[in-house]
């Protein structure tokens, strides 16, 4: 495995195949946790951890897992790491745990994790799988952070909880509600498509 191809595996998750924009996967949490940048980045990091760990384990076991039950095996592996993350967050980052709520266990069914396991980790070595997981996870975190920032700045006038505009700013509350999430994501997707074409 050459150096350059490892770097390539890593960087493709950052732009060319960035979830959730290019790789239209993992939409549910994208909409839900991007009310603010803190929850967005928090979710991104949790997901990256699960993604990298499950990629490592699945890549190590790929020659042993029988083809017929592979999806079930992947799910067991992923679910185990999600439980680990759940308990860790409950112990060490309780406020964030409460804010992310139901979406932490939902990492199990996050299409990104299962998708990368199926499409990549089950067919490539450990090193490449780590790079892939890190790249995708980091890309996802950046995407969530960006979307979260936009929604938080315009929707609540804060960033990371600190007020950005003056006291007279009327927050565009639409942004932090459900409709705003959909519209914002849609527009960002459109922008990414535009950027991709040029």
């Amino acid at each position: 495995m050459s150096e350059t191809s490892l770097v390539q595996e890593f960087t493709k998750g950052l732009w060319k195949e960035i979830p959730p924009f290019r790789l239209v996967l993992g939409l549910c949490p994208t909409l839900a946790v991007t009310k603010g940048i803190e929850t967005g980045v928090g979710m991104g990091i949790a997901l990256t951890f699960v993604l990298v760990c499950s990629n490592i384990l699945i890549a190590s076991l790929r020659k042993i897992i029988p083809n017929k039950v592979r999806i079930a095996c992947f799910i067991v592996v992923i679910a185990t790491f999600v439980v680990i993350v759940e308990l860790t967050m409950q112990a060490f980052t309780y406020p964030l745990f409460l804010k992310l709520g139901i979406f932490i266990p939902l990492i199990v069914v996050n299409c990104i994790v299962l998708g990368r396991a199926e499409a990549f980790a089950s067919k490539n070595g450990i090193g490449a799988s780590i790079a892939d997981g890190l790249g995708m996870g980091l890309g996802y975190t950046i995407a969530l952070g960006t979307l979260g920032s936009i929604r938080e700045i315009f929707g609540a006038g804060t960033w990371f909880g600190h007020a950005v505009f003056g006291a007279s700013f009327q927050p565009f509350t639409f942004m932090v509600e459900a409709p705003g999430a959909f519209v914002c994501l849609g527009l960002m997707l459109g922008l990414m498509n535009l950027a991709g074409k040029e």
Binding site: V24, L25, L27, C28, P29, L31, A32, I71, A72, I75, V76, A79, T80, V82, V83, E86, L87, I102, P105, L106, V108, V109, N110, C111, L114, F174, E177, A178, P179, G180, A181, F182, V183, C184, L185, G186, L187, L189, G190, L191, N193, L194, K197
Partner: protein, 191 residues
């Protein structure tokens, strides 16, 4: 009785699992391009979610709580759901082949549907009793199906319309979903 009706209305409209709680988006955008795939997916989700809700609730109460194993509910539930979907697939194939053919590829896809897993967790977190869980497990997927079918209807029209290049397909779909979500927000005043 009134409480249960309220719960049902809340699950279908006010807290619509898809448009307000953001769960179940991947199949939402994937199967809503045509009305028949949307209806197929909606039926599948109602079918699976009702059963999954009941079974996971029972598993939680009977196997996890008495042994103090609540923390592995994530693992337990997803295994139950995966097994259930597998089982339903085999059962339908043998007994109602027409329905099986209609659902097609969507049945196994329901395993990774956030809405299914999400509602199972909601049932536990909200500490529903058996009847409440039953209402929730039936009403939430009906809300999902409703949103899905409505969306498919709109999307079929959009395809004929003139959408700018970068906004096509998923992007405009999301913006549309946003406005649907806005209209569903109006239901908040109902309760």
């Amino acid at each position: 009785m009134g409480d249960y009706i309220l719960l049902a209305i809340s699950a279908i409209l006010v807290n619509n699992i898809l448009l307000i709680q953001y769960l179940g988006n991947c199949p939402f955008l994937g199967t809503s391009k045509k009305m028949d795939t949307a209806v197929g997916m909606a039926m599948g989700v109602v079918f699976v979610l009702t059963m999954a809700g009941i079974v996971t609730w029972i598993v939680y109460k009977v196997f996890l709580v008495p042994f103090g194993l609540e923390y592995i509910r994530t693992l337990a539930f997803i295994l139950v759901i995966a097994a259930l979907v597998q089982f339903v697939e085999l059962f339908l194939k043998k007994s109602i082949p027409a329905l099986y053919a209609g659902l097609g590829i969507f049945l196994p896809l329901i395993t990774t549907n956030c809405a299914v897993f999400g509602v199972c967790i909601i049932n536990i977190d909200e500490q529903y009793n058996f009847l409440e869980m039953l209402v929730s497990s039936i009403a939430y997927p009906i809300g999902f199906g409703l949103a899905l079918v409505l969306f498919a209807g709109i999307r079929e029209r959009i395809i004929i319309g003139r959408v700018p290049g970068p906004m096509q397909d998923v992007a405009i779909g999301l913006v549309t979903a946003g406005f649907m979500s806005l209209s569903f927000l109006g239901f908040k005043g109902m309760i």
